[in-house]
C-alpha cells in the first residue's frame, strides 16, 4: 500500500443535550509520522470509507445523541463525507475518528 500523505480529514460534531457545535477538528496527513499516516490509509480501506453511504442509519428514536460528520479529501480532490452516530459506526470508522481527534487541530 502506498501512503498518500496529502489526505485531509475534517471532523465535525453536532447534537448532544447541549446542542452546541464545537469547532471542527482538521487533520492533514502530510504533517504526520509515517506509521500514523499509514494507519489512516489502512483504516480508510478497512472502513471502505469512499463506498460508505453519506449517512449511516441510526438506531431507534433516540434524542440528544452526538452526531459526527467525517469529511475526507484526497490529493486528487476526491471528497466524501459520512455522517454517523458512534454506535452505528464500524470499528475502522471509529478508530479513524479517534485518530483524527488525537492528531488533528481545532
Amino acid at each position: 500500500m502506498t501512503t498518500n500523505k496529502s489526505v485531509k480529514f475534517t471532523l465535525m460534531r453536532s447534537g448532544g443535550v447541549a446542542g452546541i457545535r464545537p469547532p471542527s477538528i482538521v487533520l492533514v496527513a502530510s504533517g504526520l509520522p509515517d506509521d500514523v499516516a499509514q494507519r489512516l490509509e489502512q483504516l480508510l480501506e478497512e472502513a471502505a470509507f469512499f463506498e460508505l453511504p453519506s449517512e449511516l442509519p441510526e438506531r431507534g428514536p433516540s434524542a440528544d445523541n452526538f452526531q459526527y460528520s467525517l469529511e475526507v479529501r484526497r490529493a486528487d480532490g476526491r471528497t466524501h463525507t459520512v455522517t454517523f452516530a458512534e454506535a452505528s459506526a464500524g470499528e475502522a470508522l471509529r478508530e479513524l475518528k479517534r485518530l483524527v481527534r488525537e492528531y488533528g487541530q481545532r
Binding site: P23, A48, F66
Partner: protein, 370 residues
C-alpha cells in the same frame, strides 16, 4: 460480537425505519451491509434478528434483578442504575436497584435520586405512571464513554434508557448533576410514548422544547418555586468555571445562556419567529436546528407561566402536558402546537379564561400566531 451486544428493551416500532426493534448494529456486520448495497432493508432485518437476541439477554438480566414482574401496579417507582465503567457497552454493570442503599459514587446517587424526583413529579402532579404511563422501569447508565479514550460530554435518551457521561472537567461537569437535565432526558421518553414528535425541523424543536419545559418544571416543583422565583435555566451549574456562560439554555431569555468559542460562540437560540434559524434538515445541521429553534416554544411557555404567576406546573404545565398527550402529533409544527395548547387551555379552563388568553398572547408575542 456478543461482548458488544447491548441489552435493549422492546419499544414502539422505529418511526424512522419502521424496524420493530431498535438496536445498535455491530461494527463488522455494518461493514458487510454497507458493501451489500441495500442497507436500509438489510439493517432493518438485522435489527429484528438482534432484537430477539437482546430480548433473550434481557430475560437473563431480569432473573438477576429478582422479583421484577411484567405487570406493574400504578404508582410504583422502579429505578435501575448501571455503571458503564468508562466504556460503551450498555447497560453496563448493575450497581443500584429500587430501594438499594446509597453508595459512594456521586453519579449513581444523582442518577437514582433525580430519576425518583422526575417519577414523583409526573405521578403526583399529572397522575402519570412513569415514562410509558404503564410503570416502565427507569434505567440509567452512568460513566458512559462512547470512545474509551475520550471523556463523554453528553447525556442522552437512546429510546429505552438514559445515558450519562462524566464530562471532561474542562467545559462540563458530570451530566448527572442537574435535576433538570435528567428530567429533560426522561421527558424525551414521555414524548416518544405520547406525541411521538419527529426529531427534525419544527416537530423536533417542539420535542426538545417539551423536554426543556418539563425539565425546568420538575426543578421548580422540587424547589417549590413560583414562576417569578425560578431561574428557567437548563443545565445551570453544569458548566465548568472556565466557561463563559451560566447554563445550556434559558427559557426566559433564549440566546443568553453562554458565549464561548469552545461552544461554537454565542448561544444561538432565538426567542421569536423572525429569528428562526433555517439550518439544513440533516444530522450535521442539528436536524434543522432542533436544539436551537426550541428557544421559540420555550419562551412561549415561559410567557404563559409568567403571565399566570404562581406555580408554573399547576396551570401552564398542565396545559402543555394535556397538549403533549392528547393533541400534538408526530409532525406538529409550531403553529399546530400553538393551536393545540389553546385547545387544551380552553378545555381545561374555559374559552374566556385567563389561562386561555395567556396562551394565545404568548404565541403571538413570539411570532408563531398573528
Amino acid at each position: 460480537m456478543k461482548s458488544k451486544m447491548p441489552i435493549a428493551r422492546r419499544v414502539r416500532p422505529d418511526v424512522h425505519t419502521g424496524c420493530p426493534f431498535c438496536t445498535i448494529i455491530p461494527a463488522h456486520m455494518m461493514r458487510g451491509l454497507v458493501r451489500s448495497g441495500d442497507d436500509k432493508r438489510s439493517s432493518c432485518a438485522l435489527s429484528t434478528l438482534l432484537g430477539s437476541q437482546q430480548l433473550r439477554g434481557q430475560r437473563t438480566m431480569l432473573g438477576v434483578l429478582g422479583a421484577v414482574s411484567l405487570m406493574t401496579p400504578a404508582g410504583v417507582k422502579r429505578r435501575t442504575i448501571y455503571d458503564a465503567q468508562k466504556a460503551s457497552e450498555l447497560p453496563g454493570v448493575l450497581v443500584r436497584g429500587e430501594g438499594g442503599a446509597k453508595g459512594k459514587d456521586r453519579m449513581v446517587n444523582e442518577a437514582y435520586d433525580h430519576a425518583g424526583v422526575v417519577y414523583d413529579f409526573f405521578s403526583k402532579v399529572y397522575g402519570r405512571n412513569s415514562i410509558d404511563d404503564r410503570g416502565m422501569r427507569l434505567d440509567a447508565t452512568v460513566h458512559f464513554r462512547q470512545d474509551p479514550t475520550e471523556s463523554f460530554d453528553n447525556a442522552f435518551w437512546n429510546g429505552t434508557q438514559m445515558i450519562y457521561g462524566d464530562g471532561d472537567g474542562e467545559t462540563f461537569i458530570r451530566f448527572t448533576k442537574c435535576l433538570e437535565v435528567i428530567a429533560h432526558e426522561l421527558t424525551h421518553g414521555i414524548t416518544q410514548y405520547e406525541a411521538g414528535l419527529k426529531y427534525h425541523g419544527q416537530s423536533g424543536a417542539l420535542n426538545e422544547s417539551f423536554s426543556d419545559v418539563f425539565g425546568s418544571l420538575v426543578k421548580q416543583w422540587k424547589k417549590k418555586q413560583t414562576a417569578a422565583k425560578a431561574d428557567w435555566l437548563i443545565g445551570a451549574g453544569m458548566l465548568s468555571k472556565s466557561v463563559n456562560g451560566i447554563a445550556l439554555r434559558s427559557l426566559k431569555e433564549p440566546g443568553s445562556a453562554y458565549d464561548d468559542e469552545r461552544f461554537g460562540g454565542k448561544d444561538p437560540q432565538p426567542g421569536h419567529m423572525k429569528d428562526y434559524l433555517k439550518l439544513p434538515d440533516t444530522r450535521p445541521g442539528d436536524n434543522g436546528g432542533v436544539h436551537i429553534n426550541s428557544g421559540i416554544p420555550n419562551r412561549a411557555f415561559y410567557l404563559v407561566a409568567h403571565q399566570l404567576g404562581g406555580y408554573a406546573w399547576e396551570r401552564a404545565g398542565k396545559i402543555w402536558y394535556d397538549a403533549l398527550c392528547n393533541r400534538i402529533r408526530a409532525d406538529s409544527t409550531f403553529k399546530t402546537a400553538a393551536k393545540a395548547t389553546i385547545d387544551s387551555a380552553s378545555s381545561l379552563f374555559g374559552d374566556a379564561s385567563a389561562e386561555c388568553k395567556a396562551v394565545k398572547a404568548a404565541w403571538k408575542k413570539v411570532g408563531v400566531l398573528s
